[in-house]
């Protein structure tokens, strides 16, 4: 227990992990101190109560403390303790002393042993050192001998060394001289072998020396020889440079060598560029040759002429190979993509190569070398820019010419791809020449090409529109007779039955819908084609022009809006030109176009524009034509067309009526037995017009009329009125009465505008036509003089018209009134006015 505690105590106090045996060999005082400490600890542990409680104080009574005073301690004990305690103390003390003594003995013994062994070791060392000292003496003697020898040898070799050094110097000099002497020959040989680079290298090495020693005749000779050779070499290099047969790499090597030969850089730049130019020009000429028509191309064109035209007409871009391209005027036999490809691969890449090598030679190189001081880079850069600009301009003009030839609009993707490639390849130039205007010019070309293309699409759309109109016109012309006869046979019945009898689907609604659909499809396909310009994978599509202006101004305004305007415009032209030439436009076409324009106004325009805006995400930076303007224009065109239709149809019927009135001798006519054929014709034509209009326009509103407003209603009305009027007008005593009834009627009825605007419905159209016809009838009647039977014939005719025409108009009173006017006027113009009995009239009219 005690040993264990000791061990632990030591560990804690010193932190040494070694065992007591290892410690024993330490030096004395340290060891002693430590043992003393250990002992102290030991006692402290034994007398726990006292020693632990008393810190290492200055207490002189502490037997373990450093200030222990035996006298005081004794006195204290004697004063404080009882005898028994003293006894105990004494025993304890004795015990402790004894134990300490034994400890001391042990320690002394251990130390003694160690001391003995140390003494032994020291004695042994003493012997060894003595031996070593002898050996060292021997070594120093040897070293002295070696030093002596060495000194002796170097002394002997001194002379020879100097000689060798000298010899080697001479040798070098000789070799140099030999080099110099051999230089002309070597240069010649190099020249022969065309190892120009080596020759120049050699000459450069020798040049300074030769220059320095040129006052010596022999060197002078060499120098002259060398000069001659080098001149020749330079000559040859220049020749090679001029010949231009070598590759760009050879060429640049040439230039490099010439530069090293102190050729003036400016001249070299010029030469280099002029040489490059000649080569680039040959590229350009190659390109130009492609633009020019080949003699064989025209023959080939003729051979495949009809095929081309047929495919072009069909509008199906069957693009198989360049030779059967659908370009309508193939002035070159390569397509544009091939052309641009060739331009890129040959011209642009050579140009890039030239730029690179030029920059390498004259700019980068010169910046490092001594040439930089002479402003060579700036000069060279300026030349290069001018050179590139010049050539690029020519290239661009060629490209533009080629693009201009691209008139066919069949396959736009080809052009877009070509332009894309063109633009993409120019980016290389941008990288090489950051400040150059070339890429911008290229972009401008692309922009021009795009706008040009948009224009072409517009004209293509326009011609497509006109072509479709021609088709419609033809379709209208061919089956018209059958339509007319069919509708007449139907006697005014709806055209459902007769329509099925026709072979081709040529009814107006079908024509209208097919026309409208084909135009819309064409617009869509054009939009899709134009959309290629703004596709994401096209390099130039992210240029600001293609993002903004192209979409809004280009596509929306100058393509879509222009086309719509063109449609309206051309429609209006139909009204104007046809008016004077007497109806060169078939009326049905007018009607159809009018409906087309109206449809545009109601839906198609906004649809097309929405489509455009969606496809092109138009951001309207600049003001654009609003939909309402276009709609108003379309509506105006529709109105004009419909008015014109009314006019034309009215005129056709008027013409019949006028001729029938003018060519007849109304004074000497026979008693009417029939309705005149022309009236039947008028009714038939009116009926067929009604059917025609009904195909495209809604019925419209009529003024309310009595449910059985049949001819009977009219008969009563008309007979009573007419009788009254005639009775009045035939009394000779009252000439003033002639106009009374008519005038009273006029006072209460509104003024009738004959050629006025019509509404977009069937009834209004028919009213317009009938108004025009009847007014003509009236005016013609007033210019004639009638006999008795003439008047009666007019009565019959008017009654017949009344029977059939009222159903077409919005207000049947209008027909009543105008027919009354006619009969009244003819009664006035009658020499012997004896009207026919109403019943007889009715009978005649019933008979037909």
């Amino acid at each position: 227990m005690g040993a264990h505690g000791l061990c632990c105590g030591r560990l804690f106090m010193d932190g040494e992990a070694v065992g007591s045996e290892a410690v024993s060999e330490d030096s004395g005082p340290g060891r002693r101190h430590r043992v003393h400490g250990m002992l102290k600890l030991y006692y402290g542990l034994n007398e726990e109560g006292k020693a632990e409680e008393q810190p290492e104080s200055l207490d002189p009574c502490d037997i373990n403390g450093p200030h222990f005073d035996p006298e005081l301690f004794l006195n204290k004990l004697r004063r404080e303790c009882s005898l028994a305690e003293l006894m105990d103390q004494e025993t304890c003390m004795v015990k402790q002393i004894r134990s300490l003594d034994s400890d001391m003995q042990t320690l002394v013994y251990e130390n003694y042993n160690k001391f003995i062994s140390a003494t032994d070791t020291i004695r042994k060392m003493k012997n060894d050192f003595k031996k070593m000292e002898d050996e060292m003496d021997c070594l120093s003697a040897n070293m002295a001998a070696i030093t002596e020898f060495s000194a002796r040898i170097s002394g002997t070799l001194q002379d020879q060394h100097a000689q060798i050094t000298k010899l080697s110097g001479v040798h070098t000099l000789l070799r140099k001289l030999q080099f110099l002497f051999e230089l002309p020959a070597r240069l010649n040989k190099c020249l022969e072998l065309q190892a120009y680079a080596q020759a120049v290298r050699s000459h450069r090495r020798a040049r300074c020396v030769l220059q320095q020693y040129s006052h010596l005749p022999s060197f002078k000779g060499i120098q002259d020889d060398c000069h001659a050779i080098m001149d020749k070499l330079a000559q040859e290099l220049r020749q090679k440079f001029r010949d231009g047969g070598s590759s760009a790499k050879d060429l640049s090597e040439c230039v490099e060598l010439l530069l090293q030969l102190d050729e003036p850089a400016e001249e070299l730049c010029d030469k280099f560029l002029s040489h490059a130019q000649s080569r680039l020009e040959s590229d350009l000429q190659g390109l130009e040759a492609e633009i020019r028509p080949y003699p064989s191309a025209s023959a080939m064109k003729d051979a495949s002429g009809h095929r081309l035209s047929s495919t072009a007409a069909a509008g199906s871009p069957t693009y198989n190979s360049p030779k059967t391209s659908t370009i309508p005027s193939p002035t070159s036999n390569t397509d544009i993509l091939e052309f641009i490809d060739r331009g890129c691969n040959e011209f642009v890449s050579s140009l890039c190569l030239v730029i690179t090598s030029y920059q390498e030679l004259f700019i980068n190189h010169a910046q490092k070398g001594e040439l930089a001081s002479k402003n060579i880079p700036q000069m060279a850069n300026g030349k290069l820019n001018a050179f590139v600009d010049d050539l690029a301009a020519r290239y661009f003009s060629l490209v533009e010419r080629r693009i201009q030839e691209e008139k066919g609009v069949a396959d736009n993707s080809l052009l877009v791809r070509a332009l894309d490639r063109f633009h993409r390849r120019l980016q290389a130039v941008t990288k090489l020449l950051p400040g150059s205007a070339v890429p911008n010019q290229g972009t401008e070309i692309v922009i021009r090409a795009a706008t040009e293309r948009v224009k072409q699409y517009l004209s293509a759309l326009q011609s497509f529109y006109m072509d479709s109109l021609t088709d419609v016109r033809q379709a209208l012309a061919t089956p018209r007779l059958s339509v007319a006869s069919a509708s007449v046979a139907g006697g005014g019945a709806h055209l459902g039955g007769p329509a099925s009898g026709r072979d081709a689907p040529n009814s107006l609604p079908e024509l209208l819908s097919s026309l409208s659909a084909s135009i819309l499809n064409q617009i869509k396909s054009v939009l899709a084609s134009v959309h290629l310009f703004t596709a994401k994978d096209i390099t130039f599509s992210n240029k600001p022009y293609f993002k903004g202006e192209f979409c809004s101004q280009g596509v929306r305004e100058s393509l879509v809006v222009s086309f719509i305007k063109f449609v309206c415009q051309s429609s209006r032209q139909f009204c104007e030109s046809a008016g004077d030439k007497g109806g060169s436009t078939p009326p049905a076409l007018l009607l159809l176009l009018s409906r087309l324009c109206l449809d545009y106004e109601t839906s198609t325009i906004s649809y097309i524009l929405t489509l455009t805006d969606e496809q092109f995400l138009v951001q309207h930076h600049s003001p654009v034509t609003p939909v309402t303007t276009l709609c108003a224009e379309a509506r105006e065109a529709a109105q004009k067309l419909l008015n014109h239709y009314v006019k034309v149809q009215g005129l056709i019927i008027s013409q019949m009526l006028r001729k029938s009135v003018e060519t007849r001798d109304w004074v000497n006519t026979i008693e009417p037995r029939n309705v005149r054929a022309v009236m039947k014709r008028v009714v038939e034509d009116t009926t067929s017009i009604d059917v025609q209009v009904g195909l495209l326009y809604e019925e419209g509103v009529r003024k309310a009329h009595s449910s059985d407003s049949s001819k009977r209603t009219f008969s009563v009305y008309s007979s009573s009125r007419q009788q009254a009027r005639y009775a009045a007008s035939y009394t000779p005593s009252a000439p003033m009465d002639t106009n009374l009834l008519s005038n009273i009627h006029k006072l209460f009825s509104e003024r009738i505008d004959i050629f006025s605007s019509v509404e977009f419905n069937k009834v209004s159209v028919m009213t317009g036509i009938i108004k025009i016809s009847l007014k003509t009838f009236l005016e013609c009647v007033r210019l004639r003089t009638f006999g008795r039977y003439g008047l009666q014939q007019i009565q019959v005719d008017c009654h017949y018209l009344q029977m059939y025409l009222w159903r077409f108009v919005s207000d049947e009173n209008l027909v009543h009134f105008m027919l009354d006017e006619i009969v009244g006027s003819s009664a006035h113009r009658c020499l012997d006015p004896a009207p026919m009995e109403q019943s007889v009239i009715e009978v005649i009219c019933e008979r037909g």
């Binding site: 008016g579 004077d580 030439k581 007497g582 005129l651 004074v667 000497n668 000779p732 000439p735 003033m736 002639t738 106009n739 008519s742 005038n743 006029k746 006072l747 003024r751 505008d753 004959i754 050629f755 006025s756 007014k775 005016e779 007033r782 003089t785 006999g787 006035h828 113009r829 009658c830 020499l831």
Partner: protein, 387 residues
């Protein structure tokens, strides 16, 4: 304005023929010929008292037949021509004749204006303008500003130049021109040009307008398809010798420069039915009067093709006085071609309109129902032109 209100006069009969009494330059006087198959036709002499706004009428009987066209001699106030229809044996024949008014028609009317209708005097026939070969006269034209010795009658497809002799009691055909072509060609109307020493005539047939040189009686120009349909009337610009106005059944009024007949100089489409008459104002050729069977009369101001295309400067003070609504848009900017006014007093087709020969600001129009309306040029426009 009160004195701008139209003055209306009603005839008992239907009427188409109207003319100003050309030789009369003091009184405002119009002649109207009636059309009646059953009664004796009349020529109404309408005197308009400008100051009192009163119409005085005198009636002369024209018993030969219904009058389709009437023309007053430029030299003799009392002489006039008519084209009329005569019916005999159930045949209708168109004739032309020169007449003289009885010398005392005026005095008679002044004494008893109310009775004049009951007891009218009769025209005195001077001579017929017909010969056996040429009948069916459409119209008779006096030589403008002439001495009343020469007239042209248009009969079917012939233009006949007559010399009137011995106080117009004898007429001889001095030369003729014939319109040749396919079908039955017929002159519908014509006009004797006051320019070029009165050596030119313009005629209308169907849709074409033709110019004739009276010295050679040959055609000098032809405007084919001048109108889409019948050409109804012509008139020469009194101040610009090459300018000609025409109107027709396509509702249009067109102005031509006869040196270039491909395109009209100007075209108006204001009427809604056939235009039957077009008349330049005799003094101010920008004022053009048109009459139409849409019962309207339209006065247009064709400044751009007039002899005074820039007009006169307008005095602002003058304008501020008149509050007429025509001023507002024209006071500052240069004058534009425009419709000055549309007159809707008629209720039937208006077949004739004429300017007064005495007062350049006054005109008359005649509708089929026998209504004669006398109107004035709006005062504001008058001042603008004058000042």
């Amino acid at each position: 304005m009160e004195d701008d209100a139209p003055v209306i006069y009603g005839l008992e009969f239907q009427a188409r023929a109207l003319t100003a009494q050309t030789a009369e330059t003091d009184a405002i006087r119009f002649l109207v010929g009636t059309q009646s198959l059953k009664f004796d036709n009349q020529i109404h002499i309408i005197d308009f008292d400008d100051e009192n706004n009163i119409i005085n009428k005198n009636v002369l009987l024209h018993q030969a037949g219904e009058i389709w066209h009437i023309g007053a001699s430029p030299a003799d106030k009392a002489v006039l021509t008519t084209c009329y229809n005569k019916t005999s044996d159930s045949r209708v024949v168109s004739c032309a004749a020169v007449w003289r008014m009885p010398s005392d028609w005026e005095t008679g009317s002044h004494e008893s204006p109310d009775d004049s209708a009951h007891n009218p005097q009769t025209l005195e026939l001077l001579c017929h303008l017909d010969d056996s070969a040429h009948s069916n006269a459409a119209c008779v034209l006096w030589e403008p500003m002439g001495d009343g010795k020469r007239v042209i009658s248009l009969a079917d497809n012939h233009a006949l130049l007559w010399d009137l002799q011995e106080s117009s009691t004898q007429a001889t055909v001095s030369s003729t021109a014939t319109l040749e072509g396919k079908g039955q060609l017929k002159f519908t109307s014509g006009k004797w040009s006051p320019h070029h020493n009165c050596s030119q005539l313009a005629t209308a047939n169907d849709t074409a307008i033709r110019g004739w040189d009276l010295r050679t009686m040959s055609q000098i120009y032809c405007i084919e398809n001048a109108h889409g349909q019948l050409v109804r009337d012509l008139d020469f610009n009194p101040n610009r010798q090459y300018y000609l106005a025409s109107c027709g059944d396509d509702c249009k009024v067109k102005f031509w420069d006869v040196r270039n007949v491909q395109e009209p100089v100007k075209s108006l489409e204001e009427h809604s039915h056939w235009v039957w008459s077009v008349r330049y104002n005799h003094s101010h050729d920008q004022l053009v009067l048109t009459a139409s069977s849409d019962s309207r009369l339209i006065l247009s101001n064709m400044v751009s093709i007039s002899s005074e295309p820039f007009g006169h400067l307008v005095d602002d003070e003058e304008l501020s006085e008149g509050e007429d609504n025509h001023q507002e848009d024209k006071s500052k900017e240069p004058l534009k071609d425009s419709v000055v006014s549309t007159y809707e007093e008629h209720e039937d087709s208006v077949y004739a309109a004429e300017w007064s020969s005495a007062d350049p600001w006054l005109f008359a129009s005649l509708s089929y129902d026998g209504r004669l309306v006398i109107n004035r040029v709006p005062r504001a426009l008058k001042y603008r032109i004058l000042l």
